[in-house]
Amino acid sequence: MSAPDGFQEEAALGKAYDARLMRRLLPYIGPYKWLVLLSLAIAPPLFAVQLAPAWIVKQGLDRVFGGGSEAAEVPGPDWLLGIFEAPAGLPPLAWLLILYAVTIVTMAALRFLNMYVMAWTGQLAMRDLRRDVFDHIQKLHLGFFDRYPVGRLVTRATNDVENLAEMFSSGIVQAVIDVLFMAVIAAALLALNPELALITFAVVPVLAVVAVIFRMKVREAFRETRVWLARINAQIQETITGMKVVQLFTRELRNLRDFEAMNAENRDAWQRSNRYEAGLFSAVEVAQNLTFAVILGYGFRIASAGTFYVFIEWMRLFFMPLRDLSAKYSVMQSSMASAERIFQLLDTEPAVQDRGDAPAVTAPRRGEVEFDGVWFAYQGEDWILRDVSFRVAPGEKVALVGHTGAGKTSIIKLLARLYEPQRGQIRIDGVDLRNMPQAEARRRVAMVLQDVFLFSGTIAENIGLGRDDLTPADLELAARSVEAHGFIERLPDGYRSELREQGSNLSAGQRQLLSFARAVAHGADVLILDEATSSIDTETEAAIQRGIHALMEGKTAIAIAHRLSTIQDVDRIYVLHKGRVVEDGHHEGLLESRGVYFRLYQLQYRAQEGGEGSARTA
């Protein structure tokens, strides 16, 4: 029961740095570049206060405490060296202590500032990115969601974005600052004692080789963990959603076994990567200690105790970023993988898009619907609709009938522009649907879909669906017209009753009544009903039929009818068979012609309701 691999997004690249992705992330930083500049501006004083403590100790060891070898004159600008000279009247030791105290407090403040500014930038950028991901998801056409599990989309906008935030707060800018800092340390040590400095840095190339090996090793392990984690989470998600079925079919044990297997693979990959990370960590530590040994074994001939101290302290600062490299590398790598997945999602072109160049729609709202040679397939050449043409005049009511799979539902989805046809045109009020902005199309066409989806929120919100222009009175009117008012009023808080997830506190019929109320409240000229009455009991259905009758008054209506009464109500029936319109006309006329409709009628409408009739046929 593993998640499908329909999308390769899981196996995102294992790069720690990808210039292409970085370029795409840049625009998110753009609006906040002043914050980036601020953190760069903080860097030089931060460097200074980090280097200063060792230097102050050196002053003490070599000049103030006395008793040892005097330091050789140190090269440097006078103003800089002058800072360490005690002002007149103050003992040198007191001055050093004052300097030290000021330095450490400043360091604490600057470190906080540095960290906060970077985190702030990251969080602002991530908020924007989350917004873009959400907006993009909403623009994608419906077919996309058939293949992309909800769980993964949620991961994109939450965990993946959180990963990126980490890169911003401890990754890219920090890496630049670290490298700069290492360069500053190297320069300062060279200036202080070139000979000792050169020997000290001898170990760095070795370390570089180790880091490269580490990088290659850890990449593979990381990539694996990503794939497994995505599958694990998809499985948890799906199992939770389908828990009733899991339990009814007592699949718990087998599910758990499958799950444990995936989970173990994930753990093993992580444990592999732990080894590489720890390897790098301890390599840096060994290198650092060896450097100290070199400084000790070689340096005593050419340096004072104070210089030793400075060397050891600054080298420690020099190695610090290297030691964190493994942590940073993991952050960068998982961020890049997340960025890759996020941009892959953002790069998915919405198959249904508003045309930028389309002229504004000026056609008056009449409520006319036209299919003109429409061909449509969900996939490849598996045509669901073949050359379908028909015209529904303003105010006309038509029914689409056909056997299961004849293409009725697809026509509805095309009309809602949830998909687009491969060939032919669909016109609303004479305008090609593709040239009509989606918002405009939706103002003209209201839908009652087969699956009733309710949002968390109140009953009223679920009828109004966020339309601010609808007053409570409008909503009630809509509810009354479809006879939903009765059950709503019986709820504890009436229209203000909160719906649970997917309206689980309502029955299927009540949910359907609500969806009718929605369509009524929406007030479009074209009303589309998709098997709207299928799971309603006869009594409720009768009530709804009355409501819908009132609603359809003066409107264009297209219904996928399962009920005879609906069929008899409509002005015209289109009979679909295997994706084609094979007949059209009135109920009686169609019956008389004894074609497909006649057979359908025998099969579907007659047998559906009537007991004895079907028994005879059987």
Binding site: Q237, K244, F281, N289, A416, D451, H522, Q604
Partner: protein
């Protein structure tokens, strides 16, 4: 704390911090082999950690005293050797503790998954999927961080401190005491920041959960969102959650960032004291430069572990809160579980009896969904259930396989209280097709074989045939191998219902329950299905919920539910004569048929 009160709390599904820690302790104990090795290695590492400053100081001392090159080289080599050993030990220390964290993450995740599978439907009414997901993903990750870098520092840093202090005291106890002066501040700092950190890390987690929920809802309802053009509404909702999350993140960052900056000050203050004292002691000859080096180096080496204590503190806080949230799930006792007084059945015969069943969904003062329902379905007979929307039909069917908790003495299978039949036993004997026809995102074949020990192609083909799905296979891109997409969205409503039906028909249950299963299937197909069912299930108990008279007309008895009560019960013929709901329904549907005939 008494065990009884502990259990009482667990039952309520609320978790105290102590219960969460206790649970985590169990996992740690289970993996003690990792931790035993780790402790030994840590001690070795600490020895190396302390040797480095001591050797440094000695070398400086020797240099100052004018030692010769050979002496210094010898010391440098010793230093190098210690350095290599310490660095190597560090490798094992990290591998062990991080691997243990992954091991526990693995165990916890398995346990969470297994536990979720044990929790009943009433649990899933109360908990949102997004919330549960966030606990399984984000909170688990936080716990892992607590066990990895968190535990590493929490255990290692105090040992480092103890060792360093021991060395300092042995060298100069007065100075050592002075160095200690700033540290009590740490407790103050930890306390004042701890609260904020705890609060805001929980708020961030909840913010993430909220965001997931918004997203999940918008995606699940995407068809409605699009067809009603309500993208702006959902975007506004999302923006609110997004903005709240940003705000919470920043608050947390402020607290989390301030703490290490301030704790980092503590060793620096110690260093300030050492520096000042050295200013007096070295000129006075009471301290050598080498000793100063050792002191200073010890303090400097402690700076980083202390500096990250703030961050570690946050990890621990967040991890603790996360463990509590996980514990909340794990501590929820499955209210539907096997009991001690179970009766072992070989196979169900299929008799169902409700005795004065009254059932209310959990929740404050909810009206009972079923009231005083008494009904007996003899083994091998068929029961039809009809009634208006929301009258309790689905609830009645759902208590048979114990999807909901029923009181003792009200529902019986083969004369035995359902609560005394093991779930495995009970559910293996019942096949139910729920109303919503949920399919998994696997192939159609795997979905149909869902209840079978393995994908048995002959049985799958048979089930597909009986559910009248065979003709549809040709339309699907890969036939039975077609991946049906999340919730089966590749299929039409009718196809989905028939696939869900096939899933049940692949089994050979003693009781088959169809909950309005064929509402989206056209009548001709339904009739064919009914014929197949009659063939296969003749002699077995079948419960059919439907809105169509044609679906229940041939049942042995029909129950009419209205407002949770049985208003009519009897054979379809009797009910027709009684003139109640059933007769009305039949008349209405017959009238429609007459209408049809007259038109024809």
């Amino acid at each position: 704390m008494s065990a009884a009160s502990d259990i009482a709390r667990l039952r309520e599904g609320r978790s105290s911090a102590r219960a969460a820690v206790a649970r985590l302790g169990q996992y740690i104990r289970r993996n003690r082999r990792y931790y035993a090795g780790w402790t030994v290695i840590t001690l070795g590492y600490v020895a190396g950690f302390l040797a480095v400053p001591i050797l440094l100081g000695r070398t400086i001392e020797a240099t100052e005293a004018g030692a010769d090159a050979r002496e210094v080289t010898r010391m440098a080599l010793l230093f190098a050797a210690v350095g290599v050993v310490a660095g190597t030990l560090r490798f094992f220390s990290r591998v062990l503790v991080f691997n243990a964290a992954r091991e526990i993450e693995y165990e916890l995740r398995n346990d969470l998954f297994a536990h979720l599978q044990r929790l009943p439907q009433s649990f899933y009414f109360r908990w949102r999927t997004g919330d549960l997901m966030s606990r399984c993903v984000n909170d688990l990750n936080s716990v892992r961080l607590l066990l990895g870098p968190g535990l590493l520092s929490v255990v290692q840093t105090p040992i480092l401190y103890v060792g360093a202090l021991a060395v300092m005291f042995s060298m100069d106890w007065q100075l050592a005491l002075l160095v200690l002066i700033p540290y009590p501040l740490f407790i103050l700092i930890a306390r004042s920041f701890g609260k904020g950190m705890h609060r805001w890390s929980i708020e961030v987690q909840e913010g993430l959960g909220d965001l997931s929920n918004q997203l999940q809802e918008a995606i699940s309802g995407i068809a409605v969102v699009k067809s009603y053009g309500m993208e702006n509404v959902t975007a506004r909702r999302f923006a609110r959650a997004n903005e709240a999350l940003l705000h919470r993140h920043l608050r947390l960052t402020r607290v989390m960032g301030a703490m290490p900056s301030i704790t980092g000050l503590l060793p620096s203050l110690g260093m300030l004291i050492v520096l000042g004292m050295a200013g007096y002691k070295i000129p006075a000859g009471e301290m050598t430069k080498g000793e100063f080096f050792t002191f200073a180096m010890l303090i400097v080496q402690l700076t980083f572990p202390t500096f990250i204590m703030g961050w570690v503190f946050a990890l621990v806080q967040r991890g603790g809160a996360a463990m509590q949230r996980i514990d909340e799930v794990l501590a929820t006792e499955p209210s539907i579980a096997d009991r001690d007084d179970m009766v072992e059945l070989d196979e169900l015969r299929g008799e169902i009896e409700f005795r004065d069943l009254t059932f209310a969904y959990p929740g404050a003062e909810r009206e009972p969904a079923l009231r005083g329902v008494s009904l007996r379905v003899p083994a091998g007979s068929t029961l039809g259930i009809v009634g208006p929307v929301g009258s309790g039909k689905t609830t009645l069917a759902s208590v048979i396989p114990r999807l909901y908790e029923v009181p003792d003495g009200q529902v019986f299978i083969d004369g035995i209280d359902v609560n005394r039949i093991s779930l495995q036993n009970l559910r293996a004997g019942i096949a139910m097709v729920p109303q919503d026809a949920f399919l998994f995102s696997t192939s159609l074949a795997e979905n149909v074989a869902f209840g079978l020990p393995e994908v048995d192609s002959a049985r799958v083909a048979q089930a597909v045939e009986r559910a009248q799905l065979t003709q549809d296979l040709a339309e699907l891109p890969h036939g039975l191998a077609t991946v049906v997409g999340e919730r089966g969205v590749m299929l039409s409503g009718g196809q989905r219902q028939r696939a869900a039906l096939a899933r049940a028909l692949a089994l050979s249950p003693s009781i088959l329950i169809l909950d309005d299963t064929l509402s989206s299937v056209d009548a001709a197909t339904e009739e064919a299905i009914q014929r197949a069912l009659a063939e296969v299930f003749g002699g077995r108990t079948v419960v059919v919920i439907s809105h169509r008279i044609s679906s229940v007309r041939d049942c042995d008895q029909v129950a009419v539910l209205e407002d949770g009560e049985i208003s009519e019960l009897g054979s379809p013929k009797e009910l027709l004569l009684r003139g109640g709901f059933y007769a009305r329904l039949a008349r209405q549907q017959a009238l429609e048929e007459e209408l049809e005939e007259s038109v024809a």
